[in-house]
């Protein structure tokens, strides 16, 4: 593939015309793209049909170009300042062709700061099962603005992939490469405890890295569907000190459907929830450089079946949960419910950062059920409570851990944490030499403690009464060998390499 998106030096002349005789100011940019190779060849004379996505703007059709099996989109296809304001469909290309975007893909106006101007039913990005979207610029990201939706419905046999275009060449290292492009950002109209609770409808919060505005009053907002979606090698720092998360859920409402998603080798967090109430089922987070699951600012959703695996090159926490960084007791409290989570740590360990398990702090509430947290010898503490405002929730039953197994060299950060865990129903503390997983993925059945004796964790009964979103299960951990929901679509797991 010939690189054809870079403009040569001197490609632009911006003329600032300040016409003195009553005219308007005209700043006229003229692009002279003299490096573009317009002589696109279709090797083998393949398909003549242009399947690339297109939209009509002011009567002009903007469309990607066919390049071999791929579709290559022009640099001005969408930018944060000139987002796509109409529906867009991206199809699955034949012969594993990819849709290649020079920068990112921006749907709806992410910079709109006047709530009244946000459409209740904005543009919809539809991505067909099996499609691959690849991004060239490191700072390019996918942004779904408030009022807009993404409908990405892959299947177990035909997942949808978001990745760096470098990944298409097979030239990336699946263990060490990260941050080759930005990531996926969903901006919603749900509730954040950073907003003025008396004026939620007008709330505008700045996303990390200047990636748009979010916030609102509607925790049942609908941002679309993410199903069987894999996000790989993302997390580039898009602004000073701001790496992006693999998928960031900014105040996303619970009418949004999220299931079977994976974030692999992101620089920053795998998935992060800032406020909102979106739920998710079947989540895989592998090799992420910072925290795998992160939440803050009033998120009140639920997740069931979530598998986290750290790798040896870079990692931090399995969960980092906060309430609100500026006010630990801000309301509504962050109060997620997580069931059936497995966290497998690694030996990554430096003075200031290492692979750890679960950290709950800054006043977050949480209900944790059916956890399995384990890792090798050098993994840091597997369970930690920070800040009195967090610990205060134990007495009010707003901080709960039940039916969970911790098997680490350093299970608890301190006595308070240990007391909390021990007092919880059906919790089991083992050591790092216990056998709690089978092949690093499936919950071992039976589990063996360090001495080789069988131990039997008791799964939380009637989870569906805790939250109708939950299924009732009879196992702890994320994946049972009997029903491997990761089969087929998830990347780089032990079951299907």
């Amino acid at each position: 593939m010939k690189a054809n998106n870079f403009l040569a030096l001197s490609a632009i002349t911006a003329s600032l015309l300040l016409a003195g005789c009553g005219g308007d100011i005209n700043l006229t940019p003229t692009s002279i793209d003299n490096s573009t190779d317009n002589s696109v060849t279709n090797p083998g004379g393949g398909s003549t049909e242009n399947n690339c996505a297109s939209y009509v703007d002011d009567g002009v059709t903007v469309r990607g170009q066919v390049d071999g099996d791929n579709c290559v989109y022009p640099p001005n296809f969408s930018t944060p300042n000139n987002p796509i304001m109409t529906n867009l469909r991206i199809v699955d290309l034949a012969n594993d062709g990819a849709h290649i975007f020079p920068n990112g893909l921006y749907i709806g106006n992410g910079l709109e700061n006047n709530a009244a101007n946000i459409p209740s039913s904005g543009p919809v990005l539809t991505i067909d099962a099996g499609a691959t979207l690849a991004f060239q610029d490191a700072d390019g990201f996918v942004q779904i603005a408030r009022g807009s939706r993404i409908i990405a419905e892959g299947t177990a046999t035909a997942p949808i992939t978001f990745t760096s275009d470098e990944d298409l060449t097979g030239n990336v290292d699946k263990d060490t490469d990260r941050g080759l492009w930005g990531g996926v950002i969903l901006l919603g109209r749900g509730i954040s405890n950073k907003c003025d609770q008396n004026d939620l409808a007008n709330c505008n919060l700045e996303a990390e890295g200047g990636a748009g505005l979010y916030g609102g009053a509607d925790n049942s907002d609908n941002s679309g569907v993410l199903s069987h979606v894999v996000v790989k090698y993302a997390g580039f720092e898009v602004a000073v000190g701001n790496e992006l998360n693999g998928i960031t859920f900014y105040t996303i409402g619970d009418a949004t459907q999220v299931d079977n998603i994976q974030v692999h080798n992101n620089v920053d967090d795998g998935v992060e929830f800032f406020g909102g109430a979106v739920n998710a089922k079947y989540v895989v987070l592998t090799g992420n450089g910072d925290d795998s699951l992160d939440w803050a600012d009033g998120w009140s959703g639920a997740i069931q079946y979530i598998y986290v695996r750290h790798n040896e090159s870079l990692a931090n926490r399995g969960i980092e949960g906060d309430n609100n960084s500026g006010n630990f007791t801000a309301e509504p409290f962050t109060s997620p419910q997580i069931a059936n989570m497995t966290i497998v740590g690694s030996n990554f360990s430096t003075t200031d950062r290492d692979s750890e398990g679960v950290l709950l702090r800054r006043g977050t509430q949480a209900e944790l059920y059916n956890f399995v947290v384990t890792g090798p010898e050098l993994m840091g503490e597997c369970l930690e409570l920070d800040d009195q405002a967090t610990v205060d929730h134990i007495a009010t039953d707003n901080l709960v851990i039940e039916s969970s197994v911790i098997a680490c060299a350093e299970n608890f950060a301190d006595q308070t944490t240990e007391d909390w865990f021990t007092a919880g129903t059906n919790n089991l503390a083992l050591t790092d030499t216990a056998t709690v997983l089978d092949g690093g993925l499936y919950t071992a059945s039976p589990m063996l403690d360090a001495s080789g004796a069988q131990v039997s964790p008791t799964a939380k009964a009637d989870l569906s009464t805790v939250n109708p979103f939950f299924d009732d299960v009879d196992f702890v951990g994320a994946v049972s060998a009997d029903d491997d929901w990761t089969q087929g679509w998830a990347f780089d797991l032990n079951n299907n390499q």
């Binding site: 300040l18 003195g20 490191a138 000190g241 006010n327 950062r353």
Partner: protein, 870 residues
């Protein structure tokens, strides 16, 4: 259509041309009033100086103060900013910016010889006044009420810096000096090139091959290299490492003892009679200052846990700043008779600051952990330069009813170049207040962050004034009209790179130096897997902007024996445009139409002076002016404020502030220079611009700008000079006191939730006191002064609501500044000056919710200067 491109600079593929059509019928304003003659009332030094200032004021139609070169040199001030502290109601902030009447620097504007010049500091829209050494200053004129001959962008006041004009006779002066600060007893931090004598970078800038790579690949990321070259990523990583090896890595910080300050200046001027009536003269001056300052800083960021305050961030660090100030000036003048004069003035100023900050930081991730913190090193180097060329003339035509014409043309360029600024964060096995033993660089995409920023403003300013005097029965009427054109174009570029250690063995990251880890040996070792990353991002400060102001005015000044009335009106048209640039693709981001604005309006001022008797006069003035947002403030890019390290985001929806001012003033001028005055002022601001904190996600602190609804400032100014001969000969006291209050109303927006929607204006002090106790010996051989200055607490930044709980506004605490100056004049040609600053050893402090959130030591400075002149 005639086109005059004033900028044709090509850089990184970008060019901006500012083309104009039509011609300006009107010309400008210029040398405000007449040239300022020195008025020295008595033979005493300090007292005479102070008295001369008030004598000048008596002659002004508006509330204005003028400091002449003589006064400045008598009081021993080293630069314009320090000298301006002597003026009523002025506050000096950071030793650089003037707050007039307790209002922030937004409300003061600066002119150089009557021309508008750009600010070399992109975070401010005014000129840092410490860049003008006293030796090149002829006079400083501070006007505190608006008159139509000044630019309409006028808030609390305007400072006109007039550089030295032609000498009356051959004049030579050489000055040398040295200085020391009490904080210098500890060693200073230093690195590689931090001791450059000229304050000119020859090490940090990106090398040509690196720039070439950026231009070719759009970034230096290995993925982009691989894509462009159609090579494997392994090969691309090798190219990336070669590029990394072209970058400066000489950033190992060490300590060294502090050398004393070095100061020196030389000036020489002369004049020659060329022929009958023709006189030619020139004046050249060079000034050099070099100093190192140490300071200890403590910082905290507060948050809430319920009712309780918690620390979210703490740091204790040492800051060493190596500064070099270099300036040069060359003026020429050609005079024909007494009525015609042509002058040129070229000024070069350079102010280089190399600041190294290092110390322990506790973030939310480490603050609760024992024996764990971060060891941060932050190196910021910036060169600020201003180069201004001016041609001006003044003409008097006695044969044509004494019409006087003044005109000027000024071309100025200012630049802030900040190459190779580096930040590293290392893990440390100690807590705050302890000495870390083992430091490890982070395994991270950004184990070291290198920043390169370059900003350039070009300003063209020209204009003319015409004056026509009439004499009617002993009364005097002066008609004045003029016009002005000001064009300013800005280019701003920023690039950031990260040294990635994502796959570097941990052993290599521990207990190592910067140059060892990131130097060629380490980079070339394939096992270390080092890479440099850096793609331009949408929020980098890459933008073009331009501004044009066209103005015309007319005014009259009518004087009788009993009163004087001065009134005028000014029309200004203001046009502005800005465009964000994507450096990777050399394209303009967004719709430029949305950033253009053009507005025109009428402004004006009127002043009435009533001469009660020979010793007393009463003044009333009114002014209508505006305060416009700076180019940067309306450009939607993120910028890091070098003073506060906060992210600052422009707001394209900002509108100009309308200002209406009312002044009343009672002035009494007595014998022996004794005088006092009492003034009252009231300012009404519509849509005042304030900086506020935007609601951002978690780790970010983002400052943005908002228009408030209304603002008011009002207060009293009292000023006095009292001869104390009755105590002892040559003793006197002078000073001034401003008591004022302000109020601003600012609404919350969806993204800004303020703790106090009604409060004082940011930066406003309720009181400002300046006093001087001066002593001159009768033989004129010695003079001494004690100078005391204090300002009341002022809002450093406004508090915001976090999760329903509002944190208080943060207040900078009063700083009691006491200085002593002694000068000995052994003979007619030489003098020796000893100056001690901050005798009380005060520190700067910012408090919030009853807690000190920032504290920085200042130390006591001593300096000694000797000068010889003939």
């Amino acid at each position: 259509m005639k086109r005059t491109p004033i900028i044709t600079k090509h850089k990184l593929g970008l060019a901006i041309a500012l083309a104009l059509s039509g011609q300006m019928a009107l010309a400008q304003e210029q040398e405000a009033t007449e040239t300022i003659e020195e008025v020295v009332t008595t033979g005493t030094r300090l007292q005479g100086s102070a008295a001369a200032v008030v004598e000048e004021r008596k002659e002004q139609a508006f509330v204005a103060d003028i400091l002449g070169a003589e006064q400045i040199s008598r009081t021993g001030d080293s630069d314009a900013a320090a000298a301006l502290r002597r003026v009523t109601g002025l506050t000096l902030v950071d030793g650089k910016f003037i707050y007039i009447r307790g209002l922030g620097e937004r409300y003061s504007s600066t002119q150089l010889n009557g021309a508008q010049v750009p600010s070399p500091d992109p975070t401010r829209n005014v000129i840092p006044l410490d860049m003008f050494p006293a030796s090149i200053i002829e006079s400083l004129e501070v006007q505190k009420s608006y008159s139509a001959d000044k630019p309409a962008h006028f808030g609390g006041g305007n400072v006109d810096i007039r550089t030295k004009s032609l000498p009356e006779e051959e004049a030579f002066e050489i000055q040398i000096g040295t200085g020391w600060n009490s904080e210098s007893s500890s060693d200073a931090l230093a690195y590689g090139d931090s001791n450059d004598w000229l304050g000119s970078d020859d090490q940090r800038a990106l090398a040509q091959p690196f720039l070439q790579a950026l231009a070719t690949y759009g970034s230096v990321n290995f993925t982009d290299i691989a894509r462009y070259e159609e090579i494997s990523t392994d090969q691309a990583r090798l190219i990336n490492r070669d590029l990394m090896n072209t970058m400066n890595t000489d950033y190992d910080v060490y300590t060294e003892s502090v050398s004393p300050d070095i100061k020196g200046s030389v000036s020489y001027g002369n004049q020659f009679v060329l022929a009958d009536d023709w006189t030619f003269g020139f004046l050249g001056a060079v000034d050099y200052d070099r100093a190192t300052r140490n300071s200890d800083q403590e910082r905290r960021v507060l948050g809430f846990s319920g009712e309780n305050l918690v620390n979210q961030y703490r740091s204790e660090s040492q800051i060493s700043t190596h500064s070099v100030e270099l300036s040069g000036m060359f003026n020429t003048g050609l005079e024909f008779g007494n009525n015609h004069k042509l002058e040129t003035s070229s000024i070069f100023l350079r102010d280089t600051q190399d600041r190294i900050q290092r110390g322990i930081t506790e973030t939310i991730d480490t603050i609760g952990e024992e024996n764990l913190s971060f060891f941060d090193t932050d190196i910021r180097y910036e060169e600020r330069e201003l180069l201004s060329h001016q041609l001006r003339g003044s003409h008097l035509f006695p044969e044509l009813h004494n019409i006087a014409i003044d005109w000027q043309y000024t071309d100025a360029t200012s630049r802030r170049d900040a190459p190779g600024n580096v930040f590293t964060r290392q893990g440390a096995d100690a807590d705050i207040g302890e000495q870390p033993q083992n430091l490890n660089y982070q395994r991270s995409r950004n184990a070291a962050v290198l920043e390169f920023q370059d900003l350039e403003d070009q300003v063209e300013n020209y204009g003319a004034d015409i004056e026509l005097p009439f004499y009617l029965d002993g009364n005097e009427l002066l008609l004045q009209a003029g016009g002005e054109v000001m064009r300013k174009a800005r280019e701003s570029y920023g690039r950031r790179f990260g040294f990635s250690t994502e796959s570097t063995p941990l052993s290599e990251l521990t207990n190592t130096e910067f140059s060892e880890l990131f130097g060629p040996d380490s980079v070339n070792d394939p096992d270390n897997n080092l890479q440099v990353y850096g793609a331009p991002t949408l929020t980098d400060p890459n933008y073009l902007a331009a501004q044009q102001i066209e103005a015309g005015y007319g005014l009259f000044d009518y004087t009788t024996s009993k009163w004087r009335l001065n009134a005028g009106a000014r029309w200004e048209q203001y046009s502005q445009v800005s465009a964000q640039i994507d450096l990777a693709t050399s394209t303009i981001i967004g719709a430029i139409e949305n950033t253009t604005r053009r507005e025109d309006d009428w402004f004006g001022g009127a002043g009435l002076t009533y001469f009660v008797d020979d010793t007393t006069q009463l003044r009333l003035t009114y002014g209508k002016s505006t305060v416009r947002p700076d180019l940067r403030e309306i450009t939607e890019v993120v910028f890091i404020d070098p003073l506060t390290s906060d992210k600052v985001r422009g707001n394209p929806n900002l509108i100009s502030t309308d200002v209406q001012s009312f002044d009343a003033r009672w002035e009494w001028y007595g014998p022996a220079g004794d005088n006092w005055s009492l003034g009252a002022f009231y300012k009404d601001l519509t849509n005042p611009i304030e900086s506020v904190e935007a609601k951002a996600t978690d780790s970010d602190r983002v400052i943005t700008f908002l228009n408030g609804d209304t603002g008011h400032v009002y207060g009293l100014e009292f000023e006095f000079l009292k001869d104390l001969t009755m105590v002892t000969d040559g003793l006197f006291v002078n000073g001034n006191l401003t008591l004022s209050d302000s109020e601003i109303t600012i609404q919350n927006t969806g993204g800004v939730e303020l703790t106090n929607n009604e409060r004082r204006m940011t930066g406003h002090s309720k009181y400002v006191i300046n006093t001087q106790l001066g002593y001159d010996t009768l033989d004129g051989e010695h003079s001494a002064a004690l100078v005391y200055n204090v300002f009341g607490e002022r809002i450093a930044f406004a508090g915001s609501v976090f999760g329903g709980r509002g944190i208080d506004d943060a207040f900078e605490q009063p700083f009691h500044s006491l200085d002593a100056i002694y000068t000995w004049y052994p003979d007619f040609n030489s003098k020796l000056r000893l100056k001690v600053q901050n005798l009380l050893g005060e520190d700067t402090e910012i408090m919030q919710n009853g807690q000190v959130i920032q504290k920085q030591t200042v130390g006591t400075s001593v300096s000694l200067e000797y000068s010889y002149s003939f």
